[in-house]
């Protein structure tokens, strides 16, 4: 295959919407509004004479992200104006950081699909404001400024990734980081996180990078991989045909429906942004005290948490990785594990039963009605063999639909496990009596029929019989 002759080089710029109540430079709400131009004011619509004022919360969120990405925090950074005309940019310049960004020179360790870990360099992360949104309606266009001036952190990676899957894993890990930090909800589909991928290829062994192409408009992890893969194959074809000079520095848009990229603009139409320091804002200062507090309060990130879960709770790597995918889920698990003192049972239950239910109900763990305490109570009943696993699942369903605690449900419905050998023996006798044919089969060596007896007995006991006891007594009675 010809692609093996080339090496793919990918660098990614991710725009992360920082989770603040108000916009970057004004007091307007950042909350999504269904009506256009609802969250706007003179500042974020570029009225004459309006001035930007820094939202201090953003300094904290950006610094925390920088620290999590192992960056140097520039305690004195600067805003610049990026000048360009576009209708969704009301001032005709974007306030961004240029020469002196708030975060520089970090890295992110990314776990690959094969389990290995690759370190991806972070060039910089800088604060900037978002633009508005234009919509076109035939003969006229409308602009919605609700999003203008919403705070973004642009995280720029080194060109360290070598395959579409590495690229997707990098963005996935980055998303996990910002979600763990709580600085962004990390929703690619809704645009609170956006990835632009710079893709080039070069013959293996060549030191110089090939000409890079920037891919925009990618709004899912699947599309990150597909868009890059398409672009690599496009560039590979050009190389194979000796047409590599036709790879030009340009911005290409990804069309998910057609799985193709299209040229949006080439370097020739590239703007001269005429960056210069923003005179309306003072330098952005991260005070010593703030930095040391943030350093001291750093959040445990997903992979560190997974490692700890494995060590501390002895759960499998598979369960650990599944549980840490979402911070709230990991915290839920840990609370249940501690409360029940049964971490393996907890991990097992959460990764199967609870996650299945969430998927069915299409809800997030944050919105789940059964608290970690409630689930712990249920699992304690199970581990103490007060109820059996099958009953536990029924009780769990009941807890979700009624909101009642496990204990109440078990008591009200008399679901406590039946451990009495006499009572269980009665059920078994009944089953054996009414199924002489199957008894004959079993005794003639067809042991598969055993499960039939087991099921029948459980059903007769309304699920309450202790399954171990049933099994024991059945064997005894059938072999007579």
């Amino acid at each position: 295959m010809s692609s093996s002759r080339y090496e793919t080089v990918i660098g990614i710029e991710v725009h992360v919407q920082l989770n603040t109540k108000t916009k970057l430079f004004c007091a307007c709400s950042t909350e999504f509004s269904s009506s256009d131009n609802n969250n706007i004011c003179p500042v974020c619509t570029g009225m004459p004479g309006a001035l930007p004022v820094m939202n201090k919360k953003v300094i904290e969120l950006a610094s925390r992200t920088g620290l999590a990405l192992n960056c140097r925090i520039n305690q004195n950074s600067q805003f610049s104006r990026k000048n360009y005309f576009y209708p969704d940019s009301p001032k005709a310049y974007q306030i961004s950081q240029y020469d002196l960004p708030i975060c520089e020179e970090g890295y992110l360790d990314v776990r690959q699909t094969d389990g290995s870990v690759k370190r991806i360099g972070i060039t910089r992360a800088h604060i900037e404001e978002d633009a508005g949104k234009s919509s076109h309606h035939g003969t006229y266009s409308l602009i919605n400024f609700n999003r203008t001036c919403v705070p973004l952190l642009e995280i720029v990676s080194e060109p360290d990734m070598r395959s579409p899957s590495e690229a997707a894993e990098y963005v996935r890990t980055l998303r996990s980081v910002v979600q763990y930090l709580g600085v962004c909800d990390g929703n690619l589909e809704e645009g609170s996180m956006r990835a632009d991928c710079n893709v080039s290829i070069r013959p293996k062994g060549q030191e110089d990078f090939g000409t890079k192409v920037e891919l925009k408009n990618i709004n899912s992890f699947r599309f990150i991989e597909k868009a890059i893969a398409y672009e690599v194959s496009r560039q590979t074809d050009l190389y194979d045909n000796g047409d590599q000079d036709q790879i030009v520095q340009e911005t290409r848009l990804y069309d998910a429906d057609k799985n193709k990229t299209y040229s949006m603009r080439t370097k020739e139409d590239a703007h001269d942004y005429r960056y210069f320091p923003e005179p309306d804002l003072m330098n952005l200062v991260v005070p010593d005290e703030m930095l040391s507090v943030l350093k001291a309060k750093q959040v445990e990130l997903a992979f560190d948490k997974a490692e700890r879960f494995k060590l501390e709770y002895g759960i499998t790597e598979q369960d650990a990785l599944l549980l840490v995918q979402q911070r709230e889920m990991a915290e839920y698990f840990e609370e249940v594990a501690i409360k029940t003192k049964e971490p393996k049972l907890s991990a097992n239950w959460i990764s199967t039963e609870l996650m299945r239910v969430l998927k069915e109900l299409k809800i997030d763990i944050k919105d789940f009605s059964v608290s970690a305490q409630d689930l712990s109570d249920l699992l304690v009943l199970l581990s103490a063999k007060k109820i059996n696993a099958k009953i536990a699942k029924l009780v769990f369903e009941e807890m979700i639909s009624t909101g009642k605690p496990a204990k109440d449900i078990v008591e009200a419905k008399g679901l406590v496990q039946d451990d009495d050998p006499n009572s269980v023996a009665k059920f078994i006798d009944q089953v054996i009596e009414s199924n002489p044919e199957q008894v004959e089969q079993y005794r003639s060596g067809k042991e598969k029929v055993f499960n039939f007896f087991l099921g029948q007995t459980m059903r007769l006991s309304k699920g309450k019989a202790n399954p171990d006891l049933v099994s024991e007594l059945l064997k005894e009675k059938l072999s007579k």
Binding site: M47, P48, V53, M54, F276
Partner: protein
């Protein structure tokens, strides 16, 4: 009427209103009438707000009910049409904003209204404050009340002419490179540019953000002090405003203090006219007799100030004025074929030649490949210039100099020579680059009966001392007896 409104001090007018010797309504009607009568002749106002009598009535009502009133109770004020006033047209003297109704008020206007001032109207200016003669206004040039063949100066020419002709006792101007002091000087009034960051710029249409500053213009030094006291202070809507307590400027007093006054060599160059030099010399002699000491100092970077200033001011302006794109408000061309034509035609049609010249210059200075050679170099020079001033203030309390090399020039005289026009600012722009407070105080008249003023420059936030010294300069009444032609 128990008070002569034609020459009363602001404090006298306010006192008379508070003590019910005259009503705020009477005062407002007096100045409204005078403004309406003189405006066709002088063109000092772009708009006069007849509805401001309602504000006057409210103040009278408060007084009659015995309620407390503000520091500027009933004082009519003209506001440069560069400051936004909610629900009123704010034009910046440009076709671009000829119909722009502002959705909000500038902090300065809010502060004036909070102290019960009456906003009489919006005064004329050079388009987007770019000019030194008020000849670039889309609404026509302003005439100098002392002689209508002469310019009033600029860019706050409308405010200066309005005060000089007593269409209003006090006006608000803005100063980016001398735009308060030069017209005050040409019109024989007092004008003060505060320290950068002293007064909020929120709601003031930006020309050059790092240089712009709002300030008072009035017939008397103490009127400037009173208004400055009201409009000063840090503002949470303007990050460049400085957290520095506001002194009681209206009570500033020199007492028996003797000052060291610097006279920069470069400000008394060959270019200075004989008449201006002579009047300054007279003032200096008189001040010496009072015991103040004068020291010649060196500000060698002065010769680079013009190029430094125009590079920085135009660069910032090229970005500040980019928002006038015909998309959301302001002038929009009728001939739109695509997005680019919307931009190009709207802007080409609505900006005047001087604005276009400066936007081109600034765009060029910021372009890649030229940034280091022009903009960045200018910024470095600016920093050095600031240090030069700091050094002077190590051993001196104030600087005294001419405001301009000569008195007002004739209308049309310099329109065709922009460079000559720019040179007009040479004695005022350095203080904007250094962010220092400065003011213009009338000291006499030329042979052709045009006003001559002196400039005082103080250290950062040294407004109190500067005002109290200006008071002394004014008390010498060197120009007693002269009155503008329009009186």
């Amino acid at each position: 009427m128990s008070i002569s409104l034609i020459d009363a001090k602001a404090s006298e007018i306010i006192d008379a209103i508070k003590t019910k010797k005259i009503s705020a309504l009477e005062v407002t009607e007096f100045f409204l009438k005078r403004a309406n009568e003189l405006n066709p002749k002088l063109n000092a106002f772009i708009s006069i707000d007849s509805d401001c009598v309602e504000q006057a009535k409210l103040i009278d009502k408060k007084i009659s009910m015995g309620e407390p009133v503000g520091k500027l109770a009933g004082l009519p004020i003209g506001v440069k049409d560069l400051l936004c006033v909610k629900d009123q047209i704010t034009t910046a003297a440009s076709k671009m904003l000829a119909n722009f109704k502002s959705p909000y008020s500038s902090t300065v206007v809010d502060k004036l209204l909070a102290e019960d001032a009456v906003i009489l109207g919006k005064t004329n200016l050079d388009e987007f404050a770019m000019g030194s003669s008020n000849e670039t206004s889309y609404f026509g040039n302003v005439k100098n009340p002392w002689n209508e063949d002469y310019v009033p100066g600029g860019s706050s020419g409308g405010s200066a002419a309005a005060v000089a002709a007593r269409m209003c006792p006090v006006a608000i101007g803005t100063d980016t490179g001398g735009s308060i002091r030069q017209p005050a000087n040409f019109c024989g009034i007092v004008g003060l540019k505060p320290t950068y960051g002293r007064v909020s710029r929120y709601g003031v249409i930006a020309f050059a953000s790092s240089l712009d500053q709002v300030g008072p213009m009035a017939s008397y030094v103490e009127d400037c002090a009173l208004v400055l006291e009201v409009i000063s202070g840090s503002d949470e809507m303007d990050s460049s405003s400085v957290e520095q307590p506001v002194a009681e400027y209206s009570k500033a007093n020199l007492g028996s203090k003797k000052l060291n006054i610097a006279l920069p060599k470069q400000y008394f160059s060959e270019a200075l006219s004989a008449e201006v030099r002579e009047k300054l010399q007279l003032a200096i002699e008189s001040l010496k007799e009072d015991g103040h000491k004068f020291n010649e100092v060196d500000l060698p970077l002065t010769e680079y100030a013009i190029s430094t200033y125009y590079l920085i001011a135009c660069s910032e302006a090229s970005s500040n004025l980019a928002r006038y794109d015909g998309v959301r408000y302001g002038h929009r061309t009728n001939e739109v074929s695509n997005l680019e034509s919307l931009y190009v035609k709207s802007r080409s049609e609505a900006f005047g030649p001087e604005v276009k010249r400066r936007l081109m210059l600034g765009t060029y200075a910021l372009s890649s490949g030229y940034y280091d050679a022009y903009f960045e170099k200018a910024c470095k020079l600016r920093a050095k210039l600031q240090k030069e001033f700091l050094k002077v203030f190590e051993t001196n309390d104030l600087i005294l100099s001419p405001v301009t090399t000569d008195t007002a020039f004739k209308i049309g005289e310099r329109v065709s020579d922009p460079l000559q026009m720019y040179l007009n600012d040479i004695l005022t722009i350095s203080t904007n680059l250094a962010g220092l407070p400065a003011m213009s105080v009338p000291i006499g008249f030329s042979g052709n009966k045009m006003p001559i003023g002196a400039q005082l420059i103080a250290k950062a936030f040294g407004e109190s001392e500067m005002l109290s010294f200006a008071e002394l300069l004014q008390s010498k009444k060197i120009h007693k007896g002269e009155q503008p032609n329009v009186f």
